[in-house]
């Protein structure tokens, strides 16, 4: 049985065998995970095979301390989000908020906004971030977030509202 570190090492060296072993051991979970963020099982399969193809072309940057699960979760999440974004662009659909303040800003101003957002997020508690990652990042379902934080549905909505207010205040 190949270890997680051996798999990550093989991936970083661009070995096709490592990509194959990764898919054999984790492919079903990768597809199920992608399915959370894209609309359809076939699309989730496409997202995962596209990701493997990119790794074959350009080996992913893997740090020695990376855990395989963390590496796979972040890679599949970002591949899924990218797929959704690309799909919208290919369908000629407008940005999610056409003509919004951020869309109109120059790249430097947008980057500044991202920096301010990053800094504001750092000032929130871990629970507040989990609530916002559920609401805005769709990383978890509402039920999963409630379970992780050990709170009821009513408390979820109340605390999410407070977290949004807190973040908005930090961004003033």
């Amino acid at each position: 049985m190949i270890s997680d570190q051996e798999l990550l090492g093989g991936l970083a060296r661009g070995e096709a065998e490592a990509v194959a072993a990764l898919y054999r051991h984790h492919g079903a979970r990768m597809v199920a995970f992608a399915r959370r963020y894209v609309s359809g099982a076939g699309i989730a399969e496409d997202v995962v095979s596209g990701l493997l193809g990119r790794w074959l072309e350009r080996p992913p940057r893997v740090r020695e301390a990376d855990r395989l699960v963390a590496f796979l979760a972040t890679s599949v999440y970002h591949a899924s989000v990218d797929w959704v974004r690309r799909e919208r662009a290919e369908q000629g659909r407008p940005p999610r908020i056409p003509g919004s303040e951020t869309e109109r800003r120059a790249p430097a101003a947008r980057e500044d906004l991202r920096d301010r957002l990053r800094a504001a997020l750092e000032m929130l508690s871990a629970d507040e971030r989990t609530l916002l990652e559920t609401h805005y990042g769709r990383a978890l379902t509402t039920e999963e977030c409630m379970e992780l934080l050990g709170i009821s549905r009513a408390a979820f909505h109340q605390r999410l509202h407070r977290a949004r207010v807190h973040l908005a205040e930090l961004l003033k």
Binding site: A16, E17, Y23, G53, V69, Y77, E101, L117, L121, E133
Partner: protein
């Protein structure tokens, strides 16, 4: 900033999701019931000077493959580290569709063309099979 402005901001500037949240989501994800198909990667090493012809022939092969019922995907990848190598990733919904693919005219045509285009026999690695 009010909450409407915040919502607009976070629709246009994606919220960074922490790794630990994604790991929690991963651990809460149940593997789906899915039919196992055939997934493989074919490695082809072109003879020097034959890279473009091999790519063209393989792209025609891919176009034909994708017209075959049961072919779920076929994509070509060129590793940045080795421009003479082409990697073909293929997905089929079943052994039967994979067998039809291997018995097709376009498959035989590519094999014939490969005799003059390849520097070494193709290598096939199965990622999933049945």
């Amino acid at each position: 900033m009010n909450l409407t402005e915040l919502d607009k901001l976070l629709e246009s500037v994606e919220l960074h999701v922490r790794t630990e949240t994604l790991v929690s989501a991963w651990e809460l994800t149940d593997e789906l019931e899915r039919k196992r198909g055939v997934v493989l990667v074919v490695t082809m090493l072109a003879r020097p000077g034959m890279e473009e012809r091999l790519e063209l022939a393989t792209r025609e092969f891919i176009a034909a493959t994708l017209r075959l019922p049961g072919a779920l995907g076929s994509s070509l990848h060129r590793p940045e580290s080795d421009p003479r190598t082409l990697l073909l990733m293929e997905r089929f919904e079943s052994e039967e569709s994979f067998a039809r693919h291997m018995a097709s005219d376009y498959f035989a045509r590519l094999q014939l063309e490969q005799r003059t285009l390849l520097a070494a026999p193709v290598q096939v690695v199965f990622l999933e099979r049945g």
